[in-house]
Subunit: 152 residues, 2 copies
DNA sequence: CGCTTGCTTGGAGTGCGCTCCAAGGTTCTA
DNA sequence: TAGAACCTTGGAGCGCACTCCAAGCAAGCG
């Protein structure tokens, strides 16, 4: 959704969050690792580790070799953060990142991966709602027992 | 806390699941560890480990020292299974087990622990629903892109 | 009786997702 | 130009929740 090509890669990884990028500083588009850490809530350690395991596209470097993240990296990290919240294993996120790197002919496989993830999320929500029933039952029990003590 | 008190301990830990105990064999009320493993889906290793770390009340033994689980143990494990599904850390479940062991004067603290857990579960559900929005967005994108390819 | 299968223990090992360390080089502020 | 604060790397370490191992005792069957 930027300018010309049929479906630019960034369209695919942009718009990743319902989050419209509030504290995302614009202007220079080059952030140090600690800026990105502060923005994403991830540690600098984790950001470097993400890059090592292939979960980040190649991050730009300054002339002396320090990382300079771009807004696009921030968008990608936002998506990764969402996938992480789904409980998707890191290995699967790396797989997804590889598919993105390989280009548009992997759209089908990406879609399948995301559909599987959605399926898992729906299952997990159902599971959690099942636990809520038990929690409510027991909380009510304790509340009732404490309100009406020892009626032996 | 066995025969006379106002609110017997078993009332508290019974009825743990909405699950009415379908494949729960009755009659002898003494199950070997592998029977319990088959019933709960936990491994025998895990059952022994739960006991070691204090997550199980003391399990009965045969005259030769082998574990003999009771229906009450099964009920407790059913509750533990639910708490595990909530994502509660094992250490907190152990804490809860200790409170149960300590008797009825811990009702308030048990209730608080469960309320905190419910709060966490509600938050987690909201989080997962947030991820669903992103997953739906991207799945729709891939589906649309594959239906209408290259319109340059 | 022997055989197979199952149970016992303490302690060691595994996989995941970070998290930190040491030993340096870089960048910023005064 | 000094000093503090930040960045780099490979590799080691950690916390959690199991998971397995070895060596030996127990239980059920023909």
């Amino acid at each position: 959704m930027e300018s010309s090509p049929p479906i630019p890669e960034d369209t695919v990884e942009r718009c990743a969050g319902a989050d419209p990028g509030h504290p995302r500083p614009d202007g220079q588009d080059r952030y140090t690792i600690s800026e990105v850490a502060a923005h994403t809530g991830l540690s600098a350690h984790t950001l470097r580790w993400y890059e090592r395991i292939g979960l980040m596209p190649h991050v730009d470097r300054s002339h002396t070799g320090q990382r300079r993240f771009t807004n696009r990296d921030l968008d990608w990290l936002s998506l990764v953060g969402k996938l992480r919240l789904t409980g998707m294993p890191v290995a699967d996120m790396v797989r997804y990142a590889e598919l993105v790197r390989q280009g548009e002919h992997t759209f089908e496989e990406r879609q399948e991966l995301l559909e599987q993830t959605r399926h898992d999320v729906l299952g997990r929500i159902a599971e959690l709602q099942g636990t809520l029933a038990v929690l409510n039952y027991k909380i009510d029990f304790y509340a009732g027992a404490r309100r009406a003590p020892e009626r032996a």
